[in-house]
């Protein structure tokens, strides 16, 4: 039977080729995603090797939580701790990881990218605490000599023996590049571009103690208890525990990407599965007569089932094989695309066999599972059907399906309503799921309604138009899955677009409108570093026609107490805090004051935004206890404003310059607002550092949502894969439907229809099919986004930013996509020789 089934499947290879492609694309996507995810996860590995000589790590207690490679803010470890440990005979080195941005030979910031930190570390030579190893050149041997990690050297095009320029908080520096180093066997410390400098360099002079202290015993390992006794008021971890902690932080940051990619892989699988089910439904329906004939000559239903499922196994195997091969190649493509977006996700080169095994299981599994239901339905055919040339399917909608759709809709609407009113995300989610299911189940009815609705229009094109609309109506039960697949892709694209546009508007909108500064000066890439030193601020103030320079110092504090803040965007538990020359700020930023007075802002009396006031139910004069670098501090609410300063995230707390002292904050400014119609070139010259941008107000406002745009570009690219799979599904449905209709097409051709008329009839039929998918996808997305914001934003956002033009463009694109997908099969059908069909009788 295996041979016979294989022969049958091979005989129909043309019919199944698009199915195989759809399966292949889905599998490829899964394999690429999993490979990328696992290789991303491996990035923390070098830390184990680099720090295997570290016995104990001392760090201060955490004062503000933080995500990503930049760990949460911890209180500094006093230099006395290092002295005490050293006095005991241990090797102890305190780290501050000061900012150091390497410049490439052309003078531009080089090294890695937006996602990496740019730091300087002391060169520790033979010490067990040294995670770096020189692989080319020599180690820095004194002031004026530096080394860089291999990845930075590679990216910035640096060569041993050349003069290297770099920027620190103290300004532009110059040194000789004497060596290139690896970190724990890898090209670099993950997500870090490291400049290795002699430990005696002034850049390492601690201003407020150390971030952490690495400790190693002299020949004998140091215990955490021994170290803790010498470092009161700090947190002491074993080396491995600290490394695990660091890897954990990396994973948290990367977990976002992994989850993100996995979600899209799942979407690709769902779309692929819908298409495989559809293919089997359509192709088995066409074979009713063949199946009935097999039943007539005595084949049992079980034998038929086995045959069909075996066919699925062959298809799954072919698709999976293609998918794994494409997936292996695709992971590099994905990495390339991420690089292109500036989201360099570091990854190892290891090929995970797990990823391939999962891909194979999913590819085979999905195909077989997707074939079972259509096979079960199709094999229920009565043998007598072989003798009848009955219509393949009654034109009326399946009542069961319609009832199920109605139930799903009722549940969906109910849950959505409840979720929106109560702000309950779970019910909102269930509601969105219900609406989705209703659309999926009701897709055939929608297609029938659409077919009937456009009939007068199509009818004007003559009988071929009528035929198009009637066929769409008649075959809706079978073709609806293709529309549903497209609906999934489009609804997700539209959903994310609405989310991004709305959040972007929320972030940039009102707060940016209130800003009247002429320029904003800040570190490149929208990062808190590099900082604007006092000399830089002074130089800016000295530029012609500059009327005011308002420095912004950014930090964060962790609120104490029970309230949990819910803010749109990445905020976590920490509250973004801006310290500034408040009087000057009011000159370039117009606050909408909801309560209190801006005149009262001084010392620990601060401005908070309405969102924070709502979350903590704070009123004027209320205390706000926070944990800071200087310990616990009690702030007082002097004023509540509608929206805070622009930024992502926006600072929730704004205080005057003397707040910095209260919070123990002494770093340089991270940005400055410039007032006055100064010359941009003059400002840039005054700054004199390639690591700091001078932005016009417009460029600054555009840039506010640029992070969001990057993420959105990634989302689009990934969803595009789902949409492409869906379009392959449409093409598949079209060619299957056409192969079923060759007789009909020949009859119309014999009656005098030109191939052009046939072609446009098919194109309009399947364009309409795609249109139904696209429109339902858009509706679903809009409802979901609205529900989502109503449930989550505490009434701050009631409706998503809706752009009707974009919506219409997507609709048009969907119709054109469907038409394009059916172009080739329709062309083949329209050009087919009438006689081939007539002779076949």
């Amino acid at each position: 039977m295996i041979r016979r089934t294989f022969k049958l499947a091979w005989f129909k290879r043309n019919r199944y080729s698009l199915t195989v492609i759809a399966i292949g694309l889905s599998v490829a996507f899964i394999v690429s995603t999993l490979l990328l995810t696992t290789s991303i996860a491996d990035v923390g590995e070098p830390l184990n090797e680099a720090y295997d000589g570290v016995d104990v790590v001392v760090r201060g207690p955490e004062v503000a939580a933080g995500d990503g490679p930049v760990a949460g803010i911890t209180a500094p470890v006093p230099p006395t701790v290092v002295d005490a440990l050293t006095a005991e005979g241990y090797e102890a080195v305190g780290f501050t990881s000061p900012y150091a941005q390497v410049l490439d030979p052309a003078g531009n910031p080089g090294g890695q990218d937006q996602t990496s930190s740019n730091v300087a570390e002391p060169w520790l030579g033979d010490s067990a605490l040294n995670g770096f190893e020189i692989i080319s050149g020599t180690a820095p041997a004194g002031l004026g000599e530096v080394a860089v990690d291999a990845s930075t050297a590679d990216n910035a095009g640096l060569e041993v023996g050349s003069t290297l320029r770099y920027v620190t908080d103290a300004g532009l520096q110059e040194a000789e590049l004497v060596g290139i180093a690896t970190f724990g066997g890898a090209d670099n410390d993950p997500y870090t571009s490291t400049l290795l400098i002699d430990a005696g360099d002034p850049v390492f002079t601690p201003t407020r103690g150390f971030d952490y202290v690495l400790v190693a015993g002299d020949g004998e390992a140091v215990g955490t208890e021994e170290a803790a006794a010498l470092a009161p008021g700090t947190e002491v971890l074993s080396g491995p525990a600290w490394v695990a902690d660091q890897i954990d932080l990396l994973d948290q940051f990367l977990g976002f990407f992994s989850t993100f990619l996995t979600v899209f892989a799942v979407i690709a699988v769902v779309v692929g599965m819908v298409i495989v089910t559809n293919t089997f439904t359509v192709s088995l329906a066409q074979r009713t007569e063949e199946l009935a004939l097999l039943r007539l000559v005595g084949t049992t239903r079980r034998q038929l089932m086995a045959q069909v499922v075996l066919e699925a196994v062959f298809l799954g195997a072919a698709g999976t094989l293609i998918g794994v091969l494409v997936g292996l190649a695709g992971v590099n493509g994905m990495g390339w695309f991420l690089d292109l977006l500036g989201l360099t996700i570091e990854r190892s080169n290891a090929i995970s066999s797990t990823a391939i095994i999962i891909g194979v299981i999913v590819g085979m599994g999905v195909t077989v599972v997707a074939a079972v239901w259509p096979a079960w339905k199709a094999t229920a055919v009565a043998p007598i059907e072989a003798l009848r040339s009955a219509e393949l399917e009654p034109p009326s909608a399946s009542r069961k399906r319609l009832i199920a759709a109605a139930i799903a809709l009722a549940i969906g609407v109910g849950c959505l309503g409840y979720g929106m009113i109560q702000g309950d995300i779970l019910f909102t989610g269930i509601g969105i799921g219900g609406a989705f299911l209703a659309l999926y189940l009701g897709a055939d009815t929608l297609i029938r309604l659409a077919a009937v609705a456009v009939r007068p229009l199509l009818g004007r094109a003559g009988p071929t138009g009528i035929v198009a609309s009637r066929n769409l109506e008649r075959n809706a039960g079978r073709t609806s899955a293709a529309a549903s697949a497209l609906m999934i892709g489009i609804s997700l694209i539209a959903f994310f677009t609405l989310m991004a546009a709305t959040i972007g508007q929320f972030v940039a909108g009102d707060s940016a409108d209130a800003l009247s500064a002429d320029y904003v000066v800040q570190g490149i890439g929208n990062q808190p570093e590099p900082a604007l030193g006092d000399e830089t601020l002074a130089a800016l103030a000295a530029v012609d026609r500059v009327t005011d320079v308002v420095p912004l110092y950014s930090t964060s504090v962790t609120p104490l107490g029970e309230a949990e803040i819910e803010r749109v965007g990445p905020g976590d538990a920490a509250l973004g805090t801006a310290i500034t020359d408040f009087d000057a700020l009011t000159g370039v930023y117009e606050f909408t004051v909801n309560a209190g007075s801006l005149d009262d802002v001084t010392g620990t009396a601060v401005v908070i935004d309405q969102a924070l006031a709502d979350s903590f139910t704070l009123a004027i004069g209320d205390p706000l206890e926070v944990n800071t670098l200087a310990g616990e501090v009690e702030l007082a609410v002097a004023a509540i404003v509608e929206t805070s300063l622009p930024g992502a995230p926006q600072p929730a707390v704004i205080g005057d310059l003397d707040l910095g002292d209260a919070l123990g904050y002494s770093e340089p400014a991270t940005a400055a607002y410039i007032a006055g119609d100064a010359d941009e070139a003059a400002l840039t010259a005054a700054v004199g550092l390639p690591t700091i941008d001078v932005l016009t107000l417009d460029d600054y406002v555009d840039g506010l949502s640029s992070n969001l745009d990057t993420i959105l570009a990634l989302v689009y690219a990934l969803l595009a894969v789902a949409v492409i799979i869906a379009l392959v599904g449409i093409a598949n449905t079209v060619s299957l439907a056409i192969s079923e209709r060759v007789g009909e097409i020949a009859a119309i051709r014999a009656a005098g229809a030109s191939s052009r008329q046939i072609f446009w009839s098919l194109i309009s039929e399947f364009g309409l099919l795609a249109l139904v998918g696209v429109v339902s996808g858009l509706v679903l997305a809009w409802v979901s986004a609205t529900a989502f914001f109503q449930a989550l934003s505490d009434g701050q956002i009631t409706y998503p930013e809706t752009d009707v033009v974009t919506g219409l463009l997507i609709v048009l694109a969907g119709f054109l996509g469907g038409a394009a997908a059916s172009w080739f099969p329709a062309l083949v059908a329209a050009k087919a020789d009438i006689l081939d069909v007539l002779r076949a009788d």
Binding site: I466, A751, L838
Partner: protein, 264 residues
């Protein structure tokens, strides 16, 4: 070698001029028509230098054993298939010179087709199937009086709103006949039109085709195996191995059976 009518049989010799390759009264004609399938050793000559004409208001049967080339003759004459060499004329137009678009227009305005397995469009009602060739012409209107007359005579007037799946085989074929007739074509090509029908139904259908020729002046070329069907025709031509091997005017069933026996 040219196989031109009339050659072997002598019956109806007086009409040989009319059945020649000159335009004359012919609505369709083949001149030196040759059709070869395949290439090299595998080549099969389905039509071998055939020259024949079909006169206006004449009901012609094309007979011959399976594989004799009779269907190919019809397909090439109607422009559904292209000749390897020679010419196929409908009126004065050489169909081999027409583009696909022009052929489509020719089929919808000048030709009608009836097939053994009906080939109705399942998505369209009986009425829409019948008016299909006229509707395909955006400028043309259906001649309602003629449509009523046709459907009355064919006995399908009360089934106009039904889909093909709701009609019997005989009804479907009568819808196909009406579809072939509605544009008042110069010539109708019928390929085994009674092949899928029982003897009573096929008798009725043939009677109707006969009437169409006699009363409406229709020209019909019918490919058939069936001697009884052929006996309704004015003229029967015999095809064997791609050549014309005989012709008879108004033959009886026995005449036809004798001729077939003689050929095999």
């Amino acid at each position: 070698m040219s196989t031109e009518l009339l050659q072997p049989d002598g019956v109806g010799k007086g009409r040989s001029d009319a059945s020649s390759d000159t335009p004359g009264d012919n609505v369709a004609r083949l001149v030196g028509a040759t059709k070869t399938f395949g290439e090299g050793d595998a080549a099969v000559t389905a039509l071998d230098d055939v020259t024949i004409g079909f006169r206006r208001r004449e009901f012609t049967a094309v007979m011959g054993p399976s594989g004799s080339g009779k269907s190919t003759l019809m397909y090439c004459q109607s422009g559904l298939d292209r000749l390897t060499s020679g010419h196929a004329y409908v009126g004065d137009v050489d169909v081999s010179t027409l583009t696909d678009q022009e052929l489509s227009v020719l089929r919808r305005s000048k030709l009608g087709f009836i097939f053994q397995s009906f080939h109705l469009v399942p998505a369209l009602s009986a009425r829409e199937n019948i008016t299909l060739p006229v509707d395909l012409d955006s400028g043309a209107d259906v001649d309602e009086a003629f449509l009523t007359e046709l459907t009355d005579v064919l006995g399908i007037a009360n089934r106009m709103e039904n889909r093909p799946s709701q009609l019997s085989g005989g009804q479907r074929q009568r819808v196909a006949v009406a579809r072939a007739m509605i544009p008042r074509p110069d010539v109708i090509f019928a390929d085994e039109p009674t092949g899928a029908l029982d003897s009573k139904t096929s008798g009725e259908l043939l009677a109707y085709l006969r009437k169409a020729v006699d009363d409406l002046g229709q020209t019909i070329v019918m490919v058939t195996h069936d001697a009884v069907a052929a006996s309704h025709c004015d003229r029967v031509i015999y095809v064997q191995d791609g050549r014309l091997v005989g012709e008879a005017l108004h033959p009886t069933v026995d005449d036809i059976l004798d001729k077939i026996r003689e050929l095999s």
